[in-house]
């Protein structure tokens, strides 16, 4: 039915390129439309794993501790990430509650778990069950995992609220800030060929 070829096609304009498998280093861009064709980095498996585990730990801190506390006329209110989701739900705004829950909690978490699920077994030379499907989720979840947008939302809220009350940043706020950099580093260190080569070997 199908046949393997040492060619790749640009995913944005469909132009074909021959790839040189021996020099797998650096970034190759499409000459016609400028899309990134391949991004190869060597020996990044350990780095990806370390970053993923760091990311998961930061994620737990970001969820367990308060993001912000507000002192308003001798009363203190604290909010963790989930408080907003729950309050929106209580107000009958469940579509919004679901949207915020998915984009700020569920997708970032599932994305990190999927990375761990795929790369930890590869490290020990094993192939996890349904690897290709799970790895696909890493890419599908990426646009929907909006930690950095949420961070901007926190900063805007702080400035808005300091006009009327005293705002105290919580531990989760700092974890969020670091988590953004860790997630960005994870995305750059990620080498999809580790996954596809593994599937090739199996076949």
């Amino acid at each position: 039915m199908s046949q393997h070829l040492s060619l790749i096609a640009c995913h944005e304009c469909d132009l074909l390129y021959k790839i040189d498998c021996s020099s797998r280093q650096g970034i190759a861009k499409c000459q016609r439309c400028g899309a990134v064709l391949v991004r190869h980095e060597r020996h990044k498996l350990e780095q990806t794993l370390a970053l993923t585990i760091t990311g998961l730990m930061l994620f737990i801190v970001a969820n367990a501790f308060p993001i912000l506390s507000m002192r308003f006329e001798e009363q203190i209110t604290e909010t963790i990430l989930f408080t907003g989701v729950k309050r929106l739900y209580d107000q009958g705004m469940w579509p919004l509650a679901i949207l915020v829950f998915l984009t700020s909690i569920a997708f970032p978490f599932l994305r990190l778990m999927a990375l761990l699920y795929v790369f930890l077994p590869i490290k020990f030379n094993r192939t996890p069950w349904k690897m290709a499907v799970i790895f696909r989720l890493v890419y599908s979840f990426r646009p929907w995992s909006m930690i950095e947008v949420f961070m901007l939302g926190i900063l805007v809220s702080i400035v808005k609220l300091t006009a009327i009350a005293a705002i105290i940043p919580g531990l989760a706020l700092w974890s969020f800030a670091v988590l953004i950099f860790v997630l960005a580093a994870t995305a750059t260190s990620l080498d999809p060929d580790l996954v596809w080569d593994r599937l090739d070997k199996q076949a």
Binding site: M1, Q3, A9, F72, T77, P95, P143, V156
Partner: protein, 211 residues
């Protein structure tokens, strides 16, 4: 580049959108092909890209109206009730002196959604009209809509945090308004629209002069 490379479609090859493996397309075989390496369904182009993009865009345009007319947030402060739409929120920030904040919210909540709707509408039309105009720039425009779309969620998160924090019995209270749901729908619909649009369609129309 004097002589252009061929495209995968011209060579009857299918590019796996998941792992990038190319497979030979058999014209006489009518079954759905799956990538031999990762099992993803293979398509020459994203299936029904144009009608799907249109459907999502029309839905987004329709949601854009309530998103701007209905309040996204209602604040109760010592018995005084104030409802804010996206625009009135921006104006309030501007008047109260925090113009950098007003600018951020304006860009994320007003400028980006409109820009994204217009760019995607233009791209779909340009494909349908078989436009020859600047395919590189049009691909670039597509890439921009993919990257900036999610930043529109800022206002939704601000509302969420306000709702979570400003919740003091008898003193102050913030409630999310229906405009926020409509606005969230606009963001999601345009993100899906960008996902189902296939930028390779732009290039399929380009007549080659160098061959």
């Amino acid at each position: 580049m004097n002589k252009r490379n061929l495209t995968a479609a011209e060579m009857s090859l299918l590019n796996c959108h998941n792992c990038g493996l190319l497979s030979k397309k058999m014209d006489h075989v009518r079954v759905l092909l799956r990538c031999p390496r990762c099992g993803t369904q293979l398509h020459r182009r994203k299936p029904r890209s144009i009608p799907q993009t249109w459907a999502l865009l029309v839905a987004a345009y329709m949601m854009y109206i309530p998103a701007n007319l209905l309040p996204i947030m209602t604040t109760t402060h010592l018995g005084h009730v104030q409802s804010d739409t996206i625009i009135s929120g921006v104006i309030y920030l501007l008047v109260s002196g925090s113009w950098p904040l007003a600018l951020i919210i304006f860009i994320a909540s007003v400028f980006v959604p409109v820009l994204k709707l217009f760019i995607l509408t233009y791209l779909v039309l340009s494909v349908q009209l078989k436009s020859q105009w600047r395919p590189v720039d049009r691909t670039r425009l597509y890439r921009i809509t993919e990257t900036i779309g999610r930043w529109s969620m800022v206002d939704i998160y601000v509302v969420t945090l306000m709702v979570a924090l400003v919740n003091i019995e008898g003193l102050a209270d913030v409630e999310a308004g229906p405009g926020a749901i409509a606005f969230g729908a606009v963001v999601i619909l345009t993100m899906f629209a960008a996902m189902v649009f296939d930028p390779r369609l732009i290039w399929d129309n380009i007549r080659h002069t160098h061959e």
